[in-house]
């Protein structure tokens, strides 16, 4: 059991920004970060003097591999005009910017800094799909790679363990994919703003145009069952169980609680943060949960004094459909083995009891790995501010949301709880 932890002083988010996510031939990491930064500056209600920023923490997994350029801290701090103030890069695979957020929180809580920029960036689409797969596989555990496991392969294996223990099937995972695709068209920054039904109709139109036979898909699941349009990548993970290759950037401005109202009338506060580390498939106690997520959740709930029932909505790391299912159980929203039934009942939909991945999730919003952690917090912040437009969670008094980020094959997991007071 982890100790009950607290910050030495409170931390608030007073601004946030995010680039559009997608595959951009004509934009590099600096261009994307500039987009996120400018939106963040404009979002600070009472205005921001950029010279007030004391330091920056930036999450980036592997631009070293993806674009042959390392050492992104000073490149970005120079871009946004805060050099020579300190810039520190954090790396935790796909959880890299959740770690940047934590470091920013700690830097303020310690009293050392008052105003900190935290962000994340990744530029993946300049590489081929095979190369990206190779790059991401740098974050597996060595023994997994040796046995031929890819990233989708590790999550495919976890799915077989879950299916075997709890009786779920591929059909249950399809419910998650369909739900995420239903949210995505409501998010103007999503990489794939299309429902499965939209994608199905497009496919039918293009087959008709080419004079080819049109399969008799009656609904979304018929479409997802058809391996011609949804081929296996690492069974039972098929194409539509997997997040895409993306470019993107995200950032937030953190300040000490005492000065938050100098920046905005409506600060969002950090209620709880947690982080855990995992051991890889071979050393897990059980292949149907992530020990690191459970640890992170325990830390975050412990610090906040909140329980899973208090979380009104959450962004959850869905690099693969099975990951969302396991995590909604690990975070305590549903009991182990019951998550897939809750998903089937619609409880995680935008209008459900606990909406999950209102942004469309990594699956549809996109997953530029180093930018993902703070992009999840950006969605929580946007919802808590009531600025989510058509995807606004339809609950009265929305005031507590959470984000969960996973790196590698469960090696680094975080949970962050935000609150509007």
């Amino acid at each position: 059991m982890s100790k009950k932890r607290k910050l030495a002083r409170g931390v608030a988010i007073v601004g946030a920004g995010m680039s559009k996510f997608g595959m951009f031939r004509d934009k590099n990491s600096k261009d994307l970060f500039a987009d996120a930064f400018q939106e963040m500056v404009a979002s600070v209600g009472k205005g921001l003097d950029i010279d007030e920023i004391d330091a920056m923490y930036l999450g980036n997994f592997s631009n070293d591999f993806f674009v042959n350029q390392s050492h992104w801290g000073p490149i970005i701090s120079d871009l946004v005009g805060i050099a020579p103030k300190p810039a520190t890069r954090t790396e935790g695979a796909c959880a890299s910017s959740a770690l940047a957020f934590r470091e920013g929180v700690f830097a303020i809580a310690s009293g050392f800094y008052d105003v900190v920029l935290v962000g994340g960036v990744e530029e993946m689409s300049k590489r081929t799909t095979e190369e990206v797969a190779q790059g991401l596989a740098l974050a597996t555990v060595p023994y997994e790679g040796r046995a031929g496991f890819t990233f989708p392969g590790v999550f495919g294996a976890l799915a077989t363990a879950y299916f075997s223990k709890y009786g779920a099937t591929r059909e249950d995972l399809m419910n998650i994919t369909i739900k995420s695709h239903n949210n995505a068209p409501l998010n103007p920054k999503a990489q794939f703003p299309l429902t499965i039904r939209d994608i199905m109709k497009k496919k039918i139109e293009s087959l008709k145009k080419r004079g080819e036979e049109v399969p008799g898909w009656g609904n979304e699941k018929d479409f997802l069952r058809d391996s011609r349009v949804n081929p296996a990548v690492a069974w039972p993970m098929h194409l539509f169980d997997c997040c895409p290759i993306s470019d993107g950037a995200s950032c937030m401005l953190l300040v000490s609680e005492g000065i938050a109202e100098n920046f905005t009338d409506d600060p969002i506060y950090v209620a709880g943060i947690g982080q855990g580390s995992g051991r890889g498939l071979h050393a897990c106690d059980d292949l149907t949960y992530f020990e690191a997520t459970r640890y992170a959740a325990q830390e975050a709930y412990g610090m906040s004094g909140l329980a899973p029932k208090d979380i009104q909505f959450a962004e959850v790391h869905d690099c693969f459909s099975i990951a969302e299912l396991i995590h909604i159980e690990d975070l305590g929203f549903f009991k182990p083995g019951e998550g897939y039934r809750a998903v089937a009942e619609g409880r995680t939909r935008l209008d459900g009891s606990i909406p999950i991945n209102t942004s469309g999730g990594l699956k549809c919003k996109g997953h530029p790995v180093g930018a993902t952690g703070i992009s999840q917090l950006y969605e929580v912040w946007t919802q808590l501010k009531g600025r989510a437009g058509k995807r606004q969670v339809p609950k009265k008094d929305l005031h507590i949301g959470a984000a969960h980020n996973l790196g590698g094959t469960g090696g680094t997991c975080t949970m962050t709880i935000l609150e509007r007071r």
């Binding site: 095979e130 023994y143 997994e144 046995a147 989708p152 075997s164 069974w235 498939l281």
Partner: protein
């Protein structure tokens, strides 16, 4: 045998000799495969080598259609997938391994819980020969 360090390199070298070797903590008897130099249960660092039998059950598996470069080089692709899995050995430890002797195109016939037995796959890579741990149904 006691001379070899409790390391990944030693584990690989033992595999080349067709042995699955782990370390056992002298203080608390915990067994680790691959070997660890430091016990994660009692934090002791007095280890001894232990050979495991190579029999167990399939804990999880996946049939991989899009593999890493070294698997593609071995001829695996969308039309010729392969299986990777996790096997729980009778000694109570789990290992990641290739799974042979099952049909990667018929995943519904592969069952978690299937009894498995170790085998060793030797691949020549230029001058070098690499041995991969694999399991097949028993």
């Amino acid at each position: 045998m006691g001379q070899r360090p409790f390391s990944d390199i030693s584990y690989e070298r033992f595999l080349a000799e067709e042995k699955i070797m782990g370390s056992r903590c002298r203080k608390c008897d915990a067994v680790f495969v691959p070997p660890r130099p430091i016990c994660i249960h009692c934090h002791g660092s007095e280890m001894e080598w232990v050979e495991v039998k190579g029999e167990g059950r399939l804990s999880a598996f996946t049939c991989i259609a899009v593999g890493p470069p070294f698997m593609i080089a071995q001829g695996y692709n969308r039309k010729n997938p392969y299986v990777s899995g996790v096997v729980e050995l009778e000694e109570g430890v789990r290992v990641d391994a290739r799974i042979e002797g099952v049909d990667p195109n018929r995943p519904d016939e592969i069952k978690v819980g299937m009894p498995m037995k170790a085998m060793f796959l030797r691949r020549e890579d230029g001058e070098e020969s690499i041995t991969y741990l694999a399991f097949k149904p028993r």
